[in-house]
């Protein structure tokens, strides 16, 4: 069939590229995870599960837990800031909504390194925030915020907040205004309408935004590296070490796989949840 041949030709270049330079390298990492490290670095093709056993060492469990804690905090803080912001945007006059969203996303388009660096300028011991607070007489000694977990959380929230606002906003947009009116007509106070109607119905956006921030944060490398300054290590930093200074590629591969496994589980839960909520909505409608 002619159209099938055209289809094949259309898909071929892109699919081949992704196959060779994405799927093949990823399969290779998958294979490395089950091999052994050579004496001088390198990879020896001897089957072994040792790398995965090592992932469960107390040291690495600790690092995964730290990463998960930081990512969870980043997701929660982003939602606490992002939900009311999205809600406020949805109640702006119609002509203001798109420009407001545009300016929410705009910072995202500038360089990630520079945006993270801006927080070093703000947070360091002689930085804008410390000197400002000292000038106002609020503190005597500079606060050590930079190179702590809090600094990493701030950096992650700063970078991923736009996604949360967008995702919550789109679920608020999908709300049926009649449902809200019904709640008000039946005498519910505005806060009650919000808690019992708006919030539950916008849950898909909340979950999607939260999971997105968590997934992007737990695998992040640059933010913990720059704002954690080697004091706080996340999984990404340990993977980096394995492929550079430690020269233990098989173990680095096993860590990468564990990280991706955690992300996959969360993404699957999120999609199933949002499908289920949509089904319930359909039944109710």
């Amino acid at each position: 069939m002619k159209s099938r041949a055209t289809n094949f030709l259309l898909i071929l270049p892109g699919a081949a590229w992704l196959g060779v330079f994405l799927l093949l390298p990823c399969s290779l990492v998958l294979a490395y995870a089950f091999m052994t490290r050579g004496v001088y670095g390198g990879v020896v093709p001897t089957f072994s599960l040792d790398n995965f056993v090592r992932v469960f060492d107390a040291v690495y469990i600790e690092i995964f837990l730290t990463s998960a804690r930081i990512a969870l905090l980043a997701a929660l803080v982003s939602l606490v800031i992002g939900y009311p912001a999205a809600y406020a945007i949805s109640r702006l006059p119609g002509t203001w909504q798109l420009p407001a969203l545009f300016f929410v996303i705009l910072p995202f388009w500038s360089n990630y390194l520079i945006r993270t660096y801006a927080w070093i300028v703000l947070l360091n011991r002689t930085g804008v925030i410390n000197e400002g607070l000292r000038g106002l007489g609020i503190i005597d000694a500079p606060l050590d915020i930079l190179y702590t977990e809090s600094a990493i959380v701030v950096g992650l929230v700063y970078n991923y907040l736009p996604f949360v606002i967008l995702s919550v906003f789109s679920s608020i947009q999908r709300l049926n205004p009649e449902v809200l009116e019904a709640s008000e007509d039946l005498g519910a106070a505005p806060w009650r309408t919000f808690l019992r109607v708006t919030l539950p119905l916008t849950m898909p956006g909340v979950v999607a935004g939260g999971v997105f921030v968590f997934v992007l944060s737990i695998g992040n490398f640059i933010t913990p590296n720059l704002l954690g300054g080697g004091q706080v290590k996340m999984v990404g930093n340990v993977i980096y070490d394995q492929f550079t200074s430690a020269r233990d590629w098989p173990f680095g591969a096993a860590l990468s796989l564990s990280l991706i496994a955690i992300m996959m589980v969360l993404l699957v839960i999120q999609t199933t949840l949002s499908h289920r909520i949509r089904k319930i909505e359909k039944v109710e409608a």
Partner: protein
Amino acid sequence: MRRNSLPLTLHLLLTFLFLYGPIVVLVVLSFNASGLPTVWGGFSLKWYATLFANKKMLYPTLNTVVVATVATLVATVFGTLLAMGIERMRPSAKIDAILFMPMIIPDIVFAVALLGFYTAIKFTLGLHSIIIAHIVFCIAFVCAVVRTRLNGFDHALVEASIDLGASRLTTFRRVTLPIIAPGVVAGAMISFTLSFDEFVIAFFTAGPSSSSQTLPMLIYSMIRFGVTPEINALGTCIIGFSFLLVLLAQRFNRQGTN
């Protein structure tokens, strides 16, 4: 129209302060003659002068422009074709998952996977290996953007054009392309920005030679060295450039939908 209460409006304003405060501080400090973060020494362009006099800047900047341009061109063509092909097929969750992968996989994991792959096939590293890597995630983004554009596409238009005697190529040029053009341009803009800013993957696939250093790699090494007024100036230039690009893309997109 429901109005916002005062606390809600205040919260929105504070959110924008949080989003733009750090950028504004960076821009203001880049013009500060004293070079200190808290002492205003008057307006000065001297940090920009030092920055542009710095010869170290030249090649990384050129490298970044080359990488981003080539990656964008290739990815825009491949990604658009891929989107057209996939939209003509039955929907498949597996294909969607593969196309979603480059957007969600941690950059450090993709970077080490590629480094392992390049090493295994004894591929010489340099600018070309960075370009190859960037094309991967750029294809995914172009494909996603063009697919949303194709979603509401009426295939009867293509059939009508062919029935009226136009060749497939003419049909593509005169019917399909004008309809998907805003998506293609938006995809290209996204690709260029992402590639221009990308650090982790470039860092791992650039190889040992300093001749393939990109601008983000240079920025990273400067930041590791400490806070300097020069980085503030460089950051301001890059932020200004990105915002300009986004505004251009926005204008083009609006023209396309009108």
